[in-house]
């Protein structure tokens, strides 16, 4: 089966026209003075979804989260949770909990009192609180740290306390603001998988804000790419990567080679693109772009093959000169300067330990790709 679908094969409520939306931003706008942080934004999130808001800092993604939590009210538009309009409901009465970027652990309380804080506010009986706190500590594997204060913990442990505290009340929705931002790379990767497991086992809806595309790709069922307070695209990680909706999305997520050009001849999705300087690109993914339209052809580096001679039978092959090589261990990235001055990035997996007659700096080389390897972007 060919698919650009979700990894959780049986979970795709966004494709089901009868699925009930759980969280809805309905033409939400938020202004701070003259600055528009969120601009007339509509977005639907489904129950049990792991949803990521991805964008550069200052794009308005944190404001979206803070409006869900109740720290900001939208200037215009509505936010609905499970059909209920959230306007006017203060943060302490919303069935939503948040994990803060700074963790915001209460420094004067022990780990267990931090976790119990929310439960106490609900007036839960003491034995039940103790049981729930024990359960949460076990969940994040911090049983032996119950009596410690936050400053007696390492960064990773603090992150887990913050997580335990925010899920202790079993909120309808858990909001995570850059949950892994303060961890080092290795710990971050481990924690990503822990978060996914946790979301699955608790069956909660997660909304995570991040500027790290790798993090969003790893964890989320769907990603919303936000720029200047507006949604650029909402799609599964694979769709965002392989079928970006615009030049911005293609450039924002992962590395990409772009060729600007005009559709010279197109029919039934296939087209040849005149990219200037004698370069013609044949593609099968032109969509409904019309002949004569100005488009961008986007292709990911790993879909470009590099070789010292022109591959026999290649539909798209362009000659150039290797001017930069980055050896990264698992793969090697080549920068090839085409004869028209255009620089193409091509990456090759180092599947074998030893390469026969490798390419070197200033070697003549051919870059080639299949007609279905790239996409045509009209926006």
């Amino acid at each position: 089966m060919k698919s650009l679908g979700s990894i959780r094969r049986d979970f795709a409520p966004w494709n089901d026209p009868n699925a009930k939306p759980y969280i809805q931003f309905d033409k939400a706008t938020k202004k701070f003075g003259d600055f528009t942080a969120v601009n007339n934004l509509s977005l639907t999130i489904f129950e049990r979804e792991f949803f990521a808001l991805l964008g550069a800092s200052g794009c308005g993604k944190s404001t979206l989260l803070r409006m869900l939590a109740g720290f900001e009210e939208p200037t215009a538009g509505r936010i609905l949770l499970d059909g209920q309009d959230l306007r006017g409901i203060p943060p302490y009465r919303r069935p939503v909990n948040m994990m803060f970027q700074s963790y915001a652990l209460f420094p004067h309380m022990t780990v267990e009192n931090n976790i119990a804080f929310g439960l106490k506010q609900d007036g839960m009986p003491k034995p039940e609180i103790a049981a729930r706190v024990g359960e949460m500590l076990k969940l994040v594997k911090l049983e032996q740290f119950a009596k410690r204060k936050p400053h007696q913990l390492s960064g990773g442990q603090r992150q887990r306390v913050a997580l335990a505290r925010s899920v202790a009340k079993r909120p309808k929705v858990l909001l995570l603001d850059e949950p892994l931002g303060a961890l080092d790379k290795k710990l971050r990767e481990e924690t990503q998988f822990e978060l996914m497991d946790l979301q699955q086992s608790l069956g909660l809806t997660f909304v995570v804000v991040t500027h790290d595309q790798e993090e969003a790709m790893t964890m989320a069922d769907r990603i919303a790419i936000i720029d200047k307070g507006e949604v650029m695209q909402v799609a599964t990680p694979a769709e965002v990567y392989e079928a970006p909706g615009s030049r911005f999305v293609a450039g924002f997520v992962g590395n990409v080679n772009m060729f600007e050009g005009k559709i010279a001849h197109g029919e039934a999705g296939a087209a040849s693109i005149d990219a200037g300087n004698g370069i013609t690109i044949r593609t099968e993914n032109a969509g409904d772009a019309a002949t004569g339209a100005t488009v961008a052809f986007a292709i990911r580096p790993e879909k470009i093959k590099i070789s010292s001679t022109r591959p026999a039978g290649a539909v798209n092959a362009i000659e150039g000169e290797v001017y930069d090589i980055a050896y990264l261990g698992d793969m090697t990235v080549y920068h090839v300067r085409l004869d028209d001055g255009h620089v193409v990035r091509a990456s090759t997996m180092n599947a074998a330990r030893i390469t026969e007659d490798p390419l070197s700096w200033n070697d003549r080389a051919w870059v080639s790709f299949r007609p279905d390897a790239g996409v045509v972007l009209t926006r």
């Binding site: 939590a69 943060p91 915001a104 420094p107």
Partner: protein, 272 residues
């Protein structure tokens, strides 16, 4: 590298410390003088300390000072903390600059002016000068110091702590008493101690605003000195210096211990 001690360095240190501490050392030494003449050494004695405790006037003044300092520091701490909270939290109200300037102006206002204006006010509203007026005056004087100390802590306070508490279901008032207050408590305590010390050694404002029966210790010492310095006053001052010195030493030791504890904790945390 060991620093080399040139003669110039040694001379400057000796001179510097002499300049700072010679008067105080003299005062302490002469408090143990047998002779009644302050400047003539007549042998070692502690009799002035004994007579000090029998000097009813001095003892009364000490008691007044202590009460004034405790009450005014406490009230000033409450008011100063409230002012600091308002100034850091509500940053967009109209006239904030004016308000904040007015809270902090007494910091640089000459004490004579503060004292005189308070005196005029008390006379105008017909408030008899005494214990109440000194206390009120000291609240006015020390409140802005508390506000400065507490405000500097509030500025560095992570607002997300309070947001987290509210997010977990605590309404604003509960959030303040369970989260904000405990976290800024050290700053409030230092503010209180600063206010207490300021009230304790204030002479100028107390002279303007106090009346019969409410003579503070600094006023008493000052008036006795005008009649001639007795070794008794030396003894009183020595005790004051000792109290302040002990306070400072305890505070710095506690600070040092906390710091060491924090470092140990962080090392524990590093190890996991």
């Amino acid at each position: 590298m060991t620093p080399t001690w040139s003669r110039f360095n040694i001379a400057s240190i000796v001179l510097g410390f002499a300049f700072l501490y010679l008067p105080i050392v003299l005062l302490v030494v002469f408090s143990f003088n047998e002779s009644k003449l302050v400047t003539v050494w007549g042998g070692f004695s502690t009799k002035w300390y004994v007579s000090l405790f029998h000097n009813q006037g001095l003892m009364d003044a000490t008691w007044v000072t202590a009460r004034v300092a405790v009450i005014s520091a406490t009230v000033a701490t409450v008011l100063g903390t409230l002012a600091a909270l308002t100034l850091t939290r509500y940053t967009r109200f109209k006239g904030r600059m004016l308000f904040s300037g007015m809270v902090f102006a007494p910091l640089v206002m000459p004490e004579v002016i503060t004292g005189l204006s308070l005196l005029l006010l008390f006379v105008a509203i017909g408030l008899d000068r005494g214990f109440l007026t000194v206390t009120l005056a000291h609240i006015t004087l020390t409140m802005c110091f508390v506000a400065v100390v507490v405000q500097s802590r509030l500025i560095t306070l992570d607002r997300s702590l309070e947001e987290a508490a509210m997010d977990l279901g605590a309404p604003p008032v509960k959030t303040f008493f369970q989260i904000t207050l405990p976290v800024i408590m050290p700053a409030i305590v230092s503010g209180w101690m600063l206010a207490f010390t300021l009230s304790l050694d204030d002479l100028v404002i107390a002279s303007f605003t106090s009346g019969p029966g409410a003579t503070t210790l600094p006023m008493k010492i000052y008036s006795q000195v005008r009649l001639g310095v007795t070794p008794e006053i030396n003894a009183a001052c020595t005790i004051l210096i000792a109290v302040v010195a002990v306070g400072v030493i305890i505070a710095s030791l506690a600070n040092k211990r906390r710091e060491a504890q924090r470092q140990r904790d962080e090392q524990t945390a590093q190890r996991g």
